[in-house]
Symmetry: D2
Subunit: 454 residues, 4 copies
């Protein structure tokens, strides 16, 4: 009897494959399903069931794709708002066998209306469950967000409170297997720790420890979460079932001859190299989205249907970026251009660069006509910020561009300079050219001993 976690960095998504005696089940598969198939093979198991703990809003579910390849049955909780088309509906108390493993459904709505949790029993040692898959209902150190149904936050928070009580009563001795880890937009304040038990959470998880229903609800109502625009597309897609992802077959990478032509034919130029490389040299008009930040910020700056050309150091780097895009339904990454800017400049091409400034310089520049633009989350900004800085969350730049002016001078900042670089590149691409990046940003400012407002 084995359990293996398949993590998706960027989305902080956790999926699981469990198996015993030639049979296996997958919980919350992502779109690229090869890993599940390969793990099942290693253990000489046939995938029998696929469970979705709820309809995902932040990534494409691979359930329909994996079912198609393996003939496994997909199981999904009941949903009054519309049934998932490729799945059977399961209800509280339904149970399933996977070799020696027994699985039992708990209905645990709150994060979404269709959320379920799944108890895991060992039929050879079956006095109580040994594990529980909690989806986005309960995380390590936090619980799921409840703000997805407009006007129903209070109701959903109350449902979540009750679901958590049900989990406590059924699974005290179990290991917890949630659908997200630290860094996900589906919750906040999750532990960095990747392992826990329900009873440890009952003693330590700040939200799980709240025993008053009202207190719990008002805490949830007061939370602030961002909701990227692609969530609605994910929800629609995960109702009908996504198609398998086919990596773009990049046959003949070639250095760009002229950037202008590229923009016409190739859509957005997305530069996925580390920020330093982007700062030092890039195609005019290209966006800065390093591979590790691509999922978190690409979803705000681009649309799923946008045509994308990747700028990367190597084909491997481009493929990694294309895969990450595909997991969230951005499928039009058709090509890649190797990053060789000295060569490009020598051939007569125009190469752009972005200037960086340090804390001492920033302190002087803001006395002149340079506007600090802080692109962190509002919760970070509220905690402490530099006096006189203007706040626009990086993800909101597209919709708030009109608050900025092409005639003004901006210094972008965040916590370290990473998001500030992404923001600066976006402003440049949108015609706001006088932009510099505050390298080190809030960290450098505070380390220099300068004042902040809180």
């Amino acid at each position: 009897m084995f359990i293996q976690t398949v993590k998706t960095p960027g989305l902080a998504h956790l999926s699981y494959i469990i198996g015993s005696q030639g049979e296996a089940a997958v919980i919350d598969p992502r779109r690229d399903v090869d890993d599940y198939i390969s793990i099942a093979k290693q253990h000489d198991c046939r995938i029998k069931y696929i469970f979705e703990t709820h309809r995902n809003e932040d990534l494409i579910s691979g359930a329909a794709i994996l079912a198609n390849l393996t003939h496994a049955e997909v199981k999904h909780g009941p949903n009054a708002d519309g049934e998932v088309q490729y799945a059977d509906v399961v209800h509280g108390g339904d149970s399933f066998n996977v070799g020696n493993i027994g699985l039992e459904i708990l209905e645990t709505p709150g994060h979404t209306k269709d959320s379920i949790s799944i108890l895991l029993f060992d039929s050879d040692f079956n006095d109580g469950p040994v594990g529980i898959f909690t989806g986005d209902t309960l995380f390590i150190g936090d619980v799921g967000r409840t703000d997805f149904y407009p006007g129903q936050v209070q109701k959903m928070a109350g449902m979540l409170f009750d679901s958590l009580r049900l989990i406590e009563s059924k699974a005290k001795q179990a290991i917890i297997y949630p659908a997200h880890g630290a860094g996900s937009v589906c919750g906040d304040g999750m532990a960095e720790r990747e392992f826990s038990t329900i009873s440890h959470e009952m003693n330590n998880n700040p939200m799980l420890k709240i025993q008053q229903r009202d207190t719990f609800i008002s805490k949830k109502v007061a939370e602030h979460h961002y909701q990227p625009p692609y969530f609605s597309a994910m929800e629609r897609l995960n109702l009908i079932g996504a198609s398998a992802y086919n990596a773009p077959r990049i046959v003949s990478p070639k250095q760009l001859a002229h950037v202008d032509q590229a923009k016409q034919d190739l859509g957005w130029l997305i530069d996925v190299r580390p920020v330093e490389a982007f700062l030092g040299g890039h195609y005019p008009g290209s966006l800065c989205l390093p591979v590790a930040m691509l999922t978190a910020y690409g979803v705000w700056l681009l649309q799923p249907e946008d045509k994308i050309t990747l700028i990367a150091q190597s084909e491997a780097m481009a493929n990694k970026a294309a895969l990450q895009f595909s997991r969230i339904g951005f499928d039009h990454t058709h090509s890649y251009v190797p990053a060789e800017f000295a060569k490009f400049a020598a051939a007569g091409g125009e190469v752009a660069s972005l200037n960086t400034v340090c804390a001492t310089q920033v302190k002087e520049l803001i006395k002149q006509d340079w506007q600090l633009l802080d692109v962190r989350k509002i919760t970070e900004y509220n905690q402490d910020h530099i006096k006189g800085s203007k706040h626009i969350f990086l993800g909101h730049l597209p919709e708030k561009l009109n608050e900025l002016s092409a005639n003004k001078n901006y210094i972008t900042m965040c916590a370290s300079g990473m998001r500030a670089s992404v923001a600066a590149a976006y402003l440049r691409a949108k015609g706001i050219n006088n932009v510099q990046v505050f390298m080190g940003s809030m960290g450098a400012w505070q380390n220099a001993g300068y004042d902040v407002e809180t």
Copy 2:
């Protein structure tokens, strides 16, 4: 905060690396320590501590080797019989920090006198431990064996009973991380399951559930365990610290010209291919030890200081075998010969093969002058066996060879035919030539509907 398990197949050994905020610790490292170093690097961590839960008797500890490479400190429990030379002694209550992780020592003797368990706390969520490393004290589904000190089984079993109570009182909500999984010779009746919690074990582990000290002790006294001869070498070595393993650099593999010469120069010819390949063609006098069975049975048929030449299908297969040998201190695997027997025969070489017989044939042959030789464990044999079969445990063949005669005809058998093949090859190598292998063995016999004695 991460935890990662490093498994050693063949030995069913489990070791762990944990880390947080740039620091890491390793629990019970094996001799080939590259994996720990590489996992630490992936998480950008420095290895700060190495813990040994007890002095290993079944494999070479990599603690001294890893300490040498990383400058980490090694920690080991107190041992009245002799201190481990490369480690600091730790006592119950001692505690250590690894980033955000807190570790606390429990003294839990019983399996050995120096056994410790280690509680794992998350300092951000520190109401009770979230994990516990139990070494060979407590397994999933079983507890450690207590027969290592001649004449002290009762005393050790009593100590183990008390240690288990201590673990229960301290770590009820914790996930359990033991040093062995199913298949180890360090315990019996372990669960196939690879994950559990202490509270789940308290409800389900048959040995942990025993609440009477006397009952527990008499159960332990009644157990039967084999103890391969290399255990004593391991114990000595793990007191002073083993040297790093250097894989043999096999520069120029060549087909053997004459087996006789090979035997002089090359020591034992160990054929590590699958049994079927051995049965179909092999060098006269070579032993059959497929990679997956090599650790379990090589330790009985060979001595650590024996010179070994590997016969393998490929260099990769030979390297895998050499690595497995090195983990248990058999370091003299200096070379490998590719298995190409038709070529060898065409060049004038002598190729041996082993005949197999099926259940129907066996039923007839034992009526004639063929002796069935059952090489399973005594516990398996006692459960059921074929009437008239002689029992010698595969591991005891070297010392009980005198019970067999070169003039007699033998059919070797086990549960499936795997161990029977290993046994048959050994008999042949020792001059007992009239040997056939019962393919399918006890399984085939019973599936054919024939009688067994119980």
Copy 3:
């Protein structure tokens, strides 16, 4: 300017990719075209042209597939018997540029009517060609066979003679790049050497050295070549263009429960493990076709449309076998079964094995009622054979089965025992059960000092 050879073992096929300054061309691509695309990428080149030196009869051309993926143009020589549908016709003197490379067509019929050779020039150093692609017209150490057009051997041999003179006159200083190496069925007596020049061949190649047209023709007429039945399918397919090969996606490998059921559902059971493993244990009725022998002998024993289940040691081995089958148009390898015969026997399954005999035993057995069956090529048999042995070429067993009797006892032999094992398995699958394999075969016989007839 680079040239890289892509070899296909089993078929001894050689294809080439050349490139310069961002452009590349491929000569005689095989069906699995990934390697060409990946080499082109490594050199940052776009594939511009694909050349076929002639219509292949022994493997599926990948020209149409590669053209489809890269938009390259396919070029093929003129053929009065029917034009290749996916290619442009080129004629002697036509020339093409690939970066700094100049290519020029020579019409060199003889092996086939549409055979061309291609001169390679470096435009920076263009006094004479530096290389020549000779297809199946000229090999290292031999020339192409001329027996493909019934009744036209003399005519084709004459054309070949003239073509060779043309090559000599145009490319004396060039390196030769032929379409096959030693081991191909498209010629005989090729050198083991993988590199040569035209002038070295002019001094050393026995067939190229013949200066009399008549002598050359009569030599060619006297040659004996086998022509496997799938050749005609290849010829048809390479006229219209094959589809891309999609590897079977083996989702859930499972041990067979009953061989009988397998035979119904799974078609031929093809065991691709080394011969020794097959001899030691296999499914009754399965064929022995080790990966390295699969292309050479599978084409005689199976039909392209046959359903095939692979028996292999690992998935990697099965995939390798499936790929080799696909290169010659055998696309129905839909699944694989791991080879674990002791387990299978223990579960009640029937496991077969094949007995081997050595030279001394053979010498005795042929005095009794055992018939030696020599399955080598007729040319090998004619050179020397054991008195009393019957000859049927391994590839002709299917059509000459009626010459054998299920009531007789056979010992199969070849040069070493490899082909003898393949033959023995085939006889068994066809109901001729009393078969043993002469391990070492002719080699062992002669090394034992026994007499042969010549």
Copy 4:
């Protein structure tokens, strides 16, 4: 009979392994010898001989190391100035067998006094050699340099002329296998083409075509070649035999806390990322040496005994750099630091960047007080340069630093901006801070249509 080329990028070095019937020979092995051993294994060959075509001055020979591992014999030409200690001396006419391969020595001094060439015969087709290893005597498109012996250029050039005539007379029909390809400092004007024959070279190689001894000598005397300072160390080392290279075992990479401390403990900080990344952010005082430029320019800016800390994007990149350093005897690359500059700045660290300017900007700046510093080779500079630019070859910066002033403003330039970045970083590290890089350099300048001086 196979031949395989092992290329060393950066050094443009070509070495070879040939084999036949279980035996192999290596020609001019580099220091990291694993590839030769692994290729020999693939072909099931034992390495019997190692040949050095001459004493290498530009890289560490691996002959002594490989001989030590394989017990092969090393063969080297006669050298009046001092014998290679680990080799046997061979003379013209000496011959050796490697399976079916025959090798015959030609003494071909000129590039060095001990230079030999080696004819390759196929003993089955032995009318004339089929290949020739020419070392640094004859390249494709050029011949070896003859300026290594002070005051003896004329004499050496004459010897080379005679050696080339010997090669022509012996190997007209042979393929040429030289020790360097395009990009090496051991010759100039080599063809980009990687394959040729002696007769093709006789018709096309400009130096080989010169039939007058005097003309040839005066051409050679007029050539200009740079000679990096490490050459003398290589020559000494290759006389006694280098030790094997052991890759630094980088156990715990950590972000630097303070650069100052780093400089004390860690020696030179060598940043091996692409130039754009360096320009965008780097440690103050670090040098810019991208992996691909490291061998060519590191040898001028550093000493073999210098302590080096690598700054890299990943451990793989650092290992690649460390390996390249080791091939030229720079063994003190003991550690690496991951490049994460935004994080470093946020933690209070100081991050430097380098400004780039384009052609239009340069045109204006040089009218002001900015001095253009052209760091190309003198031959490039002489061909065309920008009016008013100062020339110092990049490799000569260390010795000509006194020609520059810390109070002046410099714009560095080369052909594209790559070497200009390396130069700018070096100037900064040496306290000349007002430096900008001309991105696109000469290429951009000319593409902009601006004037050059020739």
